[in-house]
């Protein structure tokens, strides 16, 4: 459980950014659902943890937010990527891929 949370904390920002890149402007609940679906319901963490992360990204200037109306006519706050955010997704995705590739080499059984 602990390790899972650590992964969640460390990669949540990238997941949010990637989600916004694929889906366009989205509200908090939508982002949470999408992350859960994409993970194949393997990441089961409180949705509440999403909001401080969103605030952090907004403070860093990677996303911006505005109030709008969602599909079922309810008021919701929509988040979308900024230009800096797009670059950040690219950069972080690349770094993540490199890291996982390296780790994969360590962990793959046919190595040795």
């Amino acid at each position: 459980m602990g390790s899972k949370t650590d992964v969640w904390q460390g990669t949540l920002a990238l997941m949010i950014l990637k989600t916004l890149e694929t889906m366009g402007p989205q509200h908090g609940y939508g982002i949470a659902r999408r992350i859960e679906q994409t993970s194949g319901h393997k990441l089961l963490v409180n949705y509440g943890t999403l909001y401080p992360a969103l605030l952090k990204l907004e403070q860093e200037g990677y996303i911006k937010s505005a109030w709008g109306v969602s599909d079922n006519n309810r008021k919701a706050k929509f988040y979308q990527l900024t230009k800096a955010g797009r670059k950040q997704v690219e950069r972080e995705a690349r770094e993540w891929n490199e890291t996982t590739a390296i780790l994969a080499k360590f962990l793959s059984p046919d190595e040795v």
Partner: protein
């Protein structure tokens, strides 16, 4: 960039935002609503849909809290809470806060003031361009600071390490503005003075090397800013104006900027005149071409890249060749380089020792104040044990509690620091405008600057930490369980130990002992310097000075005038004795000259010995009350044409003539000058300062060796101020245009040499008084607290038959032990710190048993008085009332 941006936004988030909070609530609400809708669509009943949505979200309030933490900076939020809480605490008990702030403000103010003095006289550089490259060239001889002009000229021309080397000398001048002659002190300065220092004129121009070439041919004057303002009302067209100095016309060519007041910290010149005018300024005493007259201060700016070590080596090479070329005046000549501003290091080391000693004692006052507040706070902390126990039990960490308590003390100490700085600011402004009661324009500019501000700030933070940390730690170790269960829980664990507040009382008493001892010892030292034999009897003697050369008198008219003045003064009613001389012992203008044995026996003794010279008229010794030990005094028969004679003091006889009976011995003022016969020996006295070792002094006959600088001294049975007025009247009748100076009593003149001790004693008395008050309030606070705390216990004891003396023993006994322990520790400390004290006050001896015993008695007495009121209160405790109260 992004983290900076985030930090800024977070800082903005510090300000409470109800709107932002509402927005967050709405967002969360909208999130939950969507989840509920979703769940319902998936077929859940409303209740279950809601439950699942809330479960998935996690704690709503926790999320908000984390969100807010992210929005602001948590440390600041906590600080804001702590500050608000502290303010509420102070509000509940404003008397306590006020006492703390006032106590600490006084102690910090004293420190800021003392540091301001150290800063101004020791640290602050001269207001010139790159002051760190300017050094003072000092002869390697004890208490010698000056050079002869020919030596300076050679040193200037032969060294290769100085960009420029300049000379200067303080000199009194008669400056006539609008027909009104006034004595004004200024600098004679070589032509390169301003250029080497890199000072730029406020108005007009300064004189340069080229202006200062031929003796007597540079009649220029540069005015100081305040002299220009005071005498010429800041006239912007002053340049080109002709003023008269010593009755000769000089052209004012410029005004120095307000920030530049010469090259000595304590001296504020009124004007600068080129060195080549020396003979016209110091009338009757030309010394520019005399290699044996050491009258010139020399300083210079090192060339870029030259280290002081290299420069020292270089000037000493020059000194070596000067010693070989002019052995009779330069034998053994060598130089060292020192920091300029306090006449090299001749004034620097005593001034430094004095001011730093003062600062150390001020720090002691601050320590006492801290101990005082710490003990009060520790007592109060015990009272707050319940409050803290409650906070601990509802989840506050101990770190958080300590932080809260420290926030409180730091707030108090910062407020005290601000007040203390204000006190120091006002006090130093008052001190800076203060002028010594003498003609010499002194400068004592101790206005606090940024440095002083930073010091005060650091001192108040340190004080807050010192007096807050120990009690805070003690308080935060409160056992919440025990405290909440019993009414008296906090102290339960400590009953058998010495609580911190008790130890602090002993510390206070010890420090107080040291300060009071320092204060009393210095006062004794002062009393001794006031009554110490100075070699003459100043009481009843009046003096008036005038410079006949400035008054336009030549030698023969001058001598006639001196005689007429003496006769006129002798005719005044009440006059017992009257005489005149060129200078007086302990007056500010002491000179030095060399004497040589009659027959130069060998190379070793052919070098002259420095002595303090005076030229005096008949009756001088009677007037000043100087005892004649052997032979006779200077008499009316010792005139031009008669054999040259002199009277020497005992030290001269012993050290230079190597005999106790010097009458009949002879010596010379120059190796080849005619010999002078000693006709009498007088008792030793003080000549340059009260603290000097015995100095050889020689008194020649002014009737054989005319000096236009004249000081009339009169011993009379009438009060001095009346006498001075009468002398002035008599002299004005003889010559209404002659400017008079230094008029006053001899006691008045002695105020200057006595000043350091007087200042030290004043400061120390203030410190001592402060220390006593602090110790008394500290002891009182702790005893009063103990009595209040133990009301119930005392009530029970009285109810079961304790007598008054039992109660007193209970209340006062412990305190008496503490005070006694503190006093013993203080005695040890005082003896240990004694050497520091002797630096501050001349003649203060750290081991005077009578004084130390008196201090001990005083401290015990103060302790007793401080205990008195609470002890009496404890006797009045009515068991019935005391027991019903809880």
């Amino acid at each position: 960039m992004t983290s900076l941006r985030a930090a800024l936004l977070r800082l903005c988030g510090l300000f409470p935002g109800a709107r932002r909070d509402r927005e967050l609530s709405e967002e969360i609400q909208s999130h939950l609503q969507k989840h509920i809708d979703h769940n319902q669509r998936a077929g859940m009943p409303l209740g279950e849909a809601r439950r699942q949505a809330f479960l998935a979200f996690g704690g709503v309030e926790q999320t908000k809290e984390r969100y807010r933490d992210r929005r602001g900076v948590p440390a600041f939020d906590v600080l804001r809470q702590d500050v608000r809480y502290a303010l509420r605490t102070f509000g509940r008990n404003p008397g306590f806060a006020a006492v703390v702030v006032v106590t600490l403000a006084l102690a910090i103010g004293v420190n800021a003031l003392a540091f301001g003095v150290v800063n101004a006289v020791i640290f602050r550089p001269l207001p010139i361009d790159h002051p760190e490259r300017v050094v003072f060239v000092q002869p390697n001889v004890e208490s010698e600071v000056s050079h002869s002009f020919p030596n300076y000229r050679d040193l200037r021309d032969r060294n290769v390490t100085f960009e420029g080397l300049f000379g200067y000398r303080m000199s009194p001048m008669d400056v006539e503005v609008n027909g009104d002659p006034r004595r004004a002190w200024g600098y004679l300065a070589t032509g390169n003075y301003f250029d080497v220092l890199g000072v730029r004129p406020a108005i007009g121009r300064f004189f340069h090397e080229a202006d200062d070439q031929k003796p007597g041919a540079a009649p220029f004057a540069v005015l100081s800013h305040d002299f220009w303002m005071a005498q010429f009302h800041g006239d912007p067209s002053i340049a080109g104006t002709i003023i008269r100095i010593n009755r000769l016309p000089y052209t004012v060519i410029g005004v120095a900027p307000a920030s530049f007041v010469g090259t000595e910290v304590f001296f504020r010149p009124r004007l600068w005149v080129p060195m080549m005018m020396q003979a016209q300024i110091e009338v009757g005493n030309p010394w520019l071409e005399n290699r044996s007259t050491f009258n010139l201060m020399v300083a210079g700016r090192l060339k870029a890249g030259v280290s002081p070590v290299q420069a020292t080596a270089n000037v000493n090479v020059v000194a070596g060749s000067l010693a070989r070329e002019y052995p009779e005046s330069n034998k053994g000549l060598s130089f060292r380089l020192t920091k300029p501003g306090l006449l090299g290091d001749s004034l620097r080391s005593p001034v430094q020792a004095f001011t730093v000693g003062l600062l150390a004692l001020a720090a002691l006052v601050l320590l006492i104040a801290c101990a005082n507040l710490a003990s009060t706070l520790a007592a109060r902390g015990a009272d707050r044990a319940r409050e803290i126990a409650i906070r601990l039990s509802i989840g506050a960490s101990r770190g958080r509690i300590i932080r809260q308590l420290l926030t409180e003390t730091l707030m108090l100490s910062s407020a005290a620091g601000a007040a203390g700085y204000l006190i120091a600011y006002v006090a130093s402004a008052a001190l800076s405008t203060w002028q010594l009661p003498i003609d010499l324009p002194t400068r004592f500019d101790i206005h606090p600057d940024t440095f002083v501000f930073l010091f005060t700030f650091a001192a108040s933070i340190a004080a807050g930490l010192i007096f807050g940390l120990a009690p805070a730690r003690q308080t935060s170790t409160v056992d919440a369980n025990a405290t909440l269960k019993s009414l008296d829980g906090a102290t339960g664990r400590q009953r058998n130990r010495w609580p911190l507040r008790d130890v602090l009382v002993a510390v206070q008493v010890a420090l107080c002992f040291v300060l009071v001892a320092a204060c009393l010892l210095s006062l004794r030292g002062l009393q001794q310097t006031l009554t110490m034999p100075v070699g003459f009897e100043p009481k009843g003697v009046s003096m008036v000075g005038f410079q006949l050369g400035l008054g336009g008198y030549d030698r023969s008219r001058g001598m006639a005038f001196q005689q007429r003045a003496l006769e006129a003064v002798n005719r005044l009613p009440g006059v017992d004795h009257a005489a005149f001389s060129n200078s007086l012992p302990l007056n500010i203008n002491q000179s030095s000259t060399e004497v040589f044995p009659e027959i130069p026996s060998n190379q070793r003794t052919s070098r002259g010995r420095a002595v303090v010279p005076y030229a005096v008229s008949p009756g001088f010794f009677d007037t000043l009350g100087i005892p004649i030990r052997r032979g006779r005094a200077i008499e009316a028969r010792d005139i031009f044409g008669a054999p040259r004679v002199a009277v020497v003091n005992e030290t001269f006889a012993r050290q230079i003539l190597r005999t106790s009976d010097a009458v009949g011995r002879r010596f010379r003022f120059e190796p080849n000058a005619p010999p002078i016969e000693v006709i009498g020996v007088i008792g030793d006295g003080k000549y340059r300062s009260l603290t000097e070792d015995p100095q050889p002094a020689v008194f020649t006959a002014i009737l054989q060796r005319y000096d236009s600088e004249t000081t009339l001294v009169v011993r009379a049975s009438v009060p001095e101020d009346q006498m001075v007025a009468q002398i002035r009247g008599a002299l004005t009748q003889l010559d209404p245009a002659l400017p008079l100076h230094s008029a006053g009593s001899l006691e008045h003149m002695l105020a200057l040499p006595r000043l350091p001790n007087r200042a030290a004693a004043t400061a120390l008395s203030a410190f001592g008084l402060l220390a006593i008050i602090l110790a008394a309030t500290g002891i009182h606070g702790v005893v009063a607290y103990a009595v209040a705390r133990r009301r119930r216990e005392i009530g029970i004891r009285v109810a079961i038959g304790a007598t008054a003396s039992d109660v007193l023993r209970l209340v006062v006994g412990r305190m008496a032990a503490l005070v006694a322990a503190g006093a013993i520790a203080g005695l040890g400390l005082a003896i240990l710190l004694g050497p520091l004290l002797t630096q501050v006050v001349y003649l203060a001896s750290p081991r005077e048993p009578v004084v130390l015993a008196a201090v001990g008695a005083l401290v015990l007495l103060v302790g007793l008085i401080a205990c008195w009121a609470p002890a009496v209160r404890s006797l009045r405790i009515e068991p019935v009332i005391a027991l019903r109260q809880e």
